[in-house]
Symmetry: C2
Subunit: 269 residues, 2 copies
C-alpha cells in the first residue's frame, strides 16, 4: 500500500516565471525520501475560485496527504484560507488558538527589535488567524502565519506558508513525523549511473529487459549529451522494506544494465 500525496502551490509568481518552484521540489524530495508516493503538483493563481477548484479536485482523488503552500500571509492576495473554506463549504472564523500564536510571534519580533511589546492585532494580523471552521492551527517555528491542518475522510490536508524557511520548518516539525508513521518501514532508495556511446533509442529495449528482470526497480533515462555526443544519466529507484535490501536490488539492476550496454557498444562512465 503506497501512501499518496499531492502538492498544491498557490501564487501568480510561480505561473509567470518570476520564481522557480523550489518549494514543490523540496517537498517532493523530502516526501519521496520518506517513502511517500508524490502523485501530482498543481500550481494555481491567487484566485479563490480557482484554488478552491484545485483543492476540491485533489480531494476527489483521495490521496492520504495534500500539502498546500503559499497564500497564508497577511496581504490581500493571500487567499488560501478563504479558498480552503470555499472548497469545504465551511465558514471562516477567528481561531483563538491561532490568534494567540500570531500574537506571541509578533511580541517576540518586538522584543528582539527592542520595541514595545504591546502588539496591536491589526486586521492583516487577525486575517492570519482567521481559519476555516473545524481546522487546527499548526505551529510555525520561524514566522508569523500559523500553518493549518484539516482532517477529512481519507485525507489529511496541510496549508503551509510560501516562504521557504517557514514551509520547511513546519514540514520538519509537524508533517515529516506523520508521514513517517503513515509509511511504516518502507524506504526509498536511488542510484545514478552514466552511459556513453549509446543512443537513448538503442538503450530503450535494454532498460525494459532489466526492469522486467528486477521487479520493483524503476529505471529512467535522461539524455544529458549534445546532438553529436550521447551522454545519458540513468536513475534507478525503488521503495521497499528495509529487509528486502533495496540498495542491493538497485546495485544488481545497475550491474545487469551495464553488461547489456557494453554488449551493445556503449560504456558506463
Amino acid at each position: 500500500m503506497t501512501v499518496d500525496m499531492e502538492i498544491i502551490c498557490v501564487g501568480n509568481e510561480l505561473l509567470i516565471g518570476k520564481i522557480l518552484n523550489t518549494n514543490a521540489h523540496w517537498l517532493g524530495k523530502q516526501a519521496t525520501n520518506l517513502g511517500v508516493n508524490v502523485k501530482r503538483i498543481t500550481v494555481v493563481q491567487d484566485i479563490v475560485d480557482e484554488t478552491a477548484d484545485v483543492i476540491r479536485e485533489a480531494l476527489r482523488r483521495k490521496p492520504q496527504f495534500i500539502i498546500i503552500t503559499g497564500g497564508l500571509g497577511p496581504t490581500f492576495d493571500d487567499k488560501t484560507l478563504e479558498s480552503i473554506a470555499t472548497a469545504l463549504g465551511r465558514k471562516l472564523d477567528v481561531n483563538q488558538k491561532a490568534l494567540a500564536m500570531v500574537k506571541t510571534k509578533y511580541e517576540e519580533y518586538a522584543r528582539k527589535r527592542q520595541l514595545p511589546t504591546t502588539i496591536e492585532l491589526t486586521p492583516p494580523r487577525v486575517k492570519m488567524a482567521t481559519l476555516p471552521e473545524e481546522t487546527e492551527p499548526v505551529n510555525n517555528p520561524v514566522g508569523g502565519a500559523p500553518g493549518v491542518r484539516v482532517d477529512l475522510e481519507g485525507t489529511t490536508l496541510f496549508a503551509l506558508p510560501g516562504v521557504p524557511k517557514e514551509m520547511e520548518a513546519i514540514f520538519a516539525e509537524t508533517i515529516a513525523p506523520l508521514l513517517k508513521q503513515a509509511v511504516g518501514d518502507r524506504v526509498f532508495c536511488e542510484k545514478n549511473m552514466f552511459l556513453d556511446d549509446i543512443m537513448e533509442s538503442n538503450l530503450a529495449p535494454l532498460i525494459v529487459k532489466v526492469m522486467s528482470d528486477n521487479k520493483g526497480v524503476y529505471i529512467k533515462s535522461h539524455p544529458r549529451g549534445t546532438e553529436n555526443k550521447s551522454h545519458i544519466e540513468i536513475h534507478l529507484t525503488t521503495a521497499a522494506k528495509a529487509e528486502e535490501n533495496p540498495m542491493e536490488m538497485l546495485e544488481k539492476a545497475a550491474r545487469e544494465l551495464a553488461i547489456l550496454v557494453k554488449e551493445n557498444g556503449g560504456k558506463t562512465s
Copy 2:
C-alpha cells in the same frame, strides 16, 4: 479578452524532487512576456491514465493553449503520445511526416559522427513518430523527437520534449509566433521595488489602496527579510495595450506606494 494557457509537465523526476521544474518556469516566463495569462501548471507521473486525466481536465477548462512537456522520447516511460490518444479517444498510428522527420534527424546525427547514414528505424525510433490520429508533427530543430500539435474546439494543444533546449527551440520556432498573434497588441510589463522598515502586515492595506487607485495594476509583496529585519520585495505587473502606456501605469503606482510607505514609517531601498 485574455489569452489563457495551461502547462502540463509529465515526469516522475519532477515529482520526486530529482529535477527542478525549470521547463514550466521558462515557459511561464516566455508566455507571460508575450501577454498570455498562464492559469495553471500541473505536474503528473509517467502513467498513461493519470496523464490522460490531466489532459482531459485541462481541456474541459477550455484554455486557448495547452503546452505539455516531457514524455516524447524513445524509451518505454515516454508515454505522452499514448496519453494524448487516450484523452482524446483517438488511435495511435505511424505518422509518415513524423517518421520522415525522425529519419532525417538520425541521418544528420550519423553524418556528424561520420557513421554510415543508412538509418535503421528501430521500434523506439518509430515510437517517436507514432502519433494520435489527426495530429500534426512539429519540427524539432535540435532533437530527434518531433513535437505534436492538436487543434481542438477552442484549444490548441502542443506536446514538446522535456529536454530543455529542444522544448525551447520548438517554442521559439512554432509556438511563440502563434501566441503573439493570439494576444494581439497587449504587452506585459513588470517593475520591482524594495521596502525596508515596514512589516508585511502593516503594508497590506497600503497595497490594497494603491491597487484600487490604479486599475489594471497588480501588486504582490514577497517577504525577503529575516525574522528581525523586514525587507520586502514589491512586484508590480500589468498587461495592457501599448497605447495605454503600461510602464507609466506601473511607475505611477510605485510612486504612490512609496509615499504611503514613507508616511507609515517605512522606506524604499
